[in-house]
């Protein structure tokens, strides 16, 4: 019986490690994005980036199968502890069990876009706005609508973003484009070690390039 007691104690120590590792802070929001190519245009107008978040479809990590290290009474107690603590932890800390491309990632994306446009002096000035009514009619309004952000997990992480870009200035009709971006799941075999954050960053980087190309096209069309 004493053996069971020791096993219980060892299992509980392992659980503590498991939860503490689970609670340990690790980077989960995309880092600031960079754009190294020259954009090569200069528009003497103020620009405002207007963000509209849309629907987010996330993937919930399924609960673990439980503890199966020991049979008998001690094993039963440990298993009961494990499942109850895990379910409570899931309820209290949902973000640790959900994979998503969320509002935090979108906010980082927008500040990155603003920084790139500012660094390359594309506009006279660029700011982020949440109130469209404050935008002057002669300024450039760049509306970025994250229609859907979807995360699924099959053989690997699959992140799909559907983003609508709308650029308007003065009384001109708005320039509108919809971009569908997703990471290549087929690459998972070669880059299986790449984590979810890396995939999110890749997709965001691709989206940033598309949005900047969209701004370039709009500029050429309005020259």
């Amino acid at each position: 019986m004493r053996k069971n007691l020791y096993l219980c104690a060892i299992a509980t120590i392992l659980f503590t490690c498991f939860f503490l590792v689970g609670c340990a802070p690790s980077k989960r929001v995309i880092p600031s994005l960079q754009y190294h190519d020259a954009i090569g245009m200069s528009i003497p107008k103020k620009a405002h980036i207007y963000w509209v978040p849309g629907k987010q479809a996330s993937h919930e990590i399924p609960p673990s199968a439980g503890y199966s290290g020991n049979s008998g009474l001690a094993g039963l107690i440990v298993n009961l502890m494990f499942t109850s603590v895990e379910s409570q932890h899931r309820k209290s800390n949902p973000s640790q069990y959900v994979l998503e491309y969320g509002k935090a990632d979108e906010a980082v994306f927008l500040t990155s876009l603003r920084d790139v446009l500012e660094q390359q002096h594309v506009f006279k000035s660029v700011d982020l706005t949440t109130d469209i009514s404050k935008v002057n009619a002669n300024d450039v309004l760049i509306k970025i609508y994250f229609k859907t952000t979807r995360v699924t997990v099959n053989s690997g992480y699959l992140i799909k973003l559907s983003v609508n870009l709308s650029i308007q200035t003065g009384r001109q009709p708005p320039y509108e484009r919809t971009y569908l971006v997703q990471n290549d799941e087929s690459l998972d075999g070669a880059f299986k070690s790449k984590g979810f954050l890396d995939k999110k960053t890749e997709v965001s980087q691709e989206l940033l390039t598309l949005i900047i190309n969209g701004i370039k096209q709009w500029y050429r069309g309005n020259k």
Binding site: L5, F19, R28, I77, S92, P94, S95
Partner: protein, 69 residues
Amino acid sequence: MLDFMPKLNLSVLAVFSVFFLIACTAERNYRGVADPFWRELSGEQKQLIVDQAYERDFGQDIKKEGNHK
């Protein structure tokens, strides 16, 4: 046969309550962003999320009130 039970119960209960304390430390949520994500954002990004949520929740009402005045 059950003489180990008080010891076992005591130790298991003690550890179980510690675990429950860990499990019950619920994460906070700021305008739809969970605390672990929120802490990684810069002040400007946090402000953007707050402003956007405010505009979505109250922007229309404030504009309507302004128009009535």
